[in-house]
Amino acid sequence: MFSSKGETMKIIVNGSEKELSNHCSISDLTEDYSLDKENLIVLKNDVLIKYEQYSSVFLTGGEKVELLSIVGGG
C-alpha cells in the first residue's frame, strides 16, 4: 500500500498520510514538525518509543505513528 520508491516514503501520522524522505528517524520526524521532544509521547504501530530511542528508531514506510502529549483536562 505504501511505497519506498526513490527518495520518499509514506507513513500515517496522527491519522493523516505524510510523505517523508527515506531513512527518517523518529527524531527527524519530530524536527520536521518543530515539536518539543521532551514532552512528546510517541507510538509507532501502537508501541511506545522512548525518548532515548528517537534517533535510533527509523521509519521505512507504511508505519502508523501517533504523536501525543499531555494536555489540560478535567
Binding site: 515539536l35 509521547i41 504523536l67 489540560g72
Partner: protein
C-alpha cells in the same frame, strides 16, 4: 487531629482535586494550584497539534502534585484501557480517572464500559478513580472490580449547574466503602460545601474555577468551602425543626 484523605494507599491533606482544562492560559495553573491547595490534578492525553508549537502543559504543573490522567475521548472500555496504558508507559504514574463517554450532548458516563475498564486496569495495578452517574449498583460493581474511589457527577460536565443528584450522592456516601469524590457540574463554592457537609470525601473542580472572571480568587474560595464543609460534617449538624426554638432565655423578661 489529622483528617486526611486516603486514596489508593496514599494520604492527602487537601480534599480539593482540580482540573487543568479550560483556563485562559496554562500559565495560571501554578498559582491556581497554590491558592486552591490542591494536591491532585487531572490531565488528558491527545494528539499534538502539528500546526502549532505550544508550550507543554507539563511545564506548568507543579512537580509536587499527583497527576491524575483521564481517559477522556474513550467511548468504550477498550479505548479507555488503551489511553490508560499509554499514560502509564509515558511516565504519568499509575493513577487513572476512567471516563467512558459516548454521548456528546450531556457527556454522561457509560457505567457498563466503565466497570469493564476498571476491572482490567485494576488487575494491571492501576489506582482507578472511575467517573459515573451515581448509581449504587454501578458503585458496588466498581468496588468489586477494584476501584480506589467513586466519582459521581453532580450535574453535566462543564455545566456549573450545581448539585442536581443530591439524593443519589447521599446514598453513595452512606452505602459505599470507597471514598466518594464528587466530580462534574459543581458550579460554586457553596455546592462544594454542601456535598462536603453531606459527608463526601472530596470534590473535583475544573470549570467552576476556570470560567470565573477571577479564577485565582475562585480557587481560594473553593479551598475554603471544602475545608468549611468538611469541618461542618465532622462537627455534626444541629437538629433542624419546623417550629422556632428560641436562642435567648424564655424567662426573666423585663415586663411591667
Amino acid at each position: 487531629m489529622d483528617d486526611l484523605l486516603t486514596i489508593g494507599g496514599e494520604e492527602f491533606k487537601s480534599r480539593l482535586l482540580t482540573g487543568s482544562g479550560k483556563y485562559s492560559s496554562d500559565s495560571l495553573i501554578p498559582e491556581i494550584s497554590a491558592l486552591s491547595n490542591s494536591q491532585i490534578i487531572t490531565v488528558a492525553l491527545r494528539r499534538v497539534d502539528l500546526e502549532s508549537n505550544n508550550k507543554s502543559l507539563m511545564d506548568f504543573i507543579p512537580s509536587n502534585m499527583k497527576l491524575l490522567p483521564n481517559t477522556s475521548g474513550a467511548r468504550t472500555a477498550d479505548e479507555a484501557v488503551k489511553i490508560a496504558r499509554i499514560a502509564k508507559m509515558s511516565g504519568c504514574g499509575n493513577w487513572i480517572k476512567v471516563e467512558v463517554i459516548s454521548d456528546n450532548k450531556y457527556l454522561l458516563p457509560n457505567g457498563y464500559e466503565t466497570i469493564k475498564a476498571t476491572e482490567i486496569l485494576a488487575s494491571e495495578g492501576f489506582v482507578v478513580l472511575p467517573y459515573i452517574n451515581g448509581d449504587l449498583y454501578i458503585a458496588r460493581s466498581l468496588a468489586d472490580a477494584g476501584a480506589a474511589a467513586i466519582m459521581p457527577l453532580a450535574s453535566p460536565i462543564g455545566s456549573n449547574r450545581g448539585i442536581r443528584c443530591q439524593e443519589m450522592i447521599q446514598i453513595l456516601i452512606d452505602q459505599s466503602s470507597l471514598p466518594i469524590i464528587v466530580d462534574a457540574g459543581i458550579g460554586k463554592p457553596s455546592d462544594a460545601a454542601l456535598v462536603m457537609e453531606m459527608g463526601a470525601d472530596a470534590c473535583l473542580i475544573n470549570t467552576a474555577i476556570a470560567s470565573s472572571p477571577n479564577p485565582l480568587l475562585m480557587a481560594e474560595a473553593f479551598k475554603l468551602a471544602i475545608i468549611s464543609g468538611r469541618k461542618a460534617y465532622l462537627a455534626g449538624l444541629g437538629i433542624s425543626t419546623t417550629n422556632a426554638v428560641a436562642s435567648s432565655p424564655l424567662t426573666g423578661y423585663l415586663n411591667g
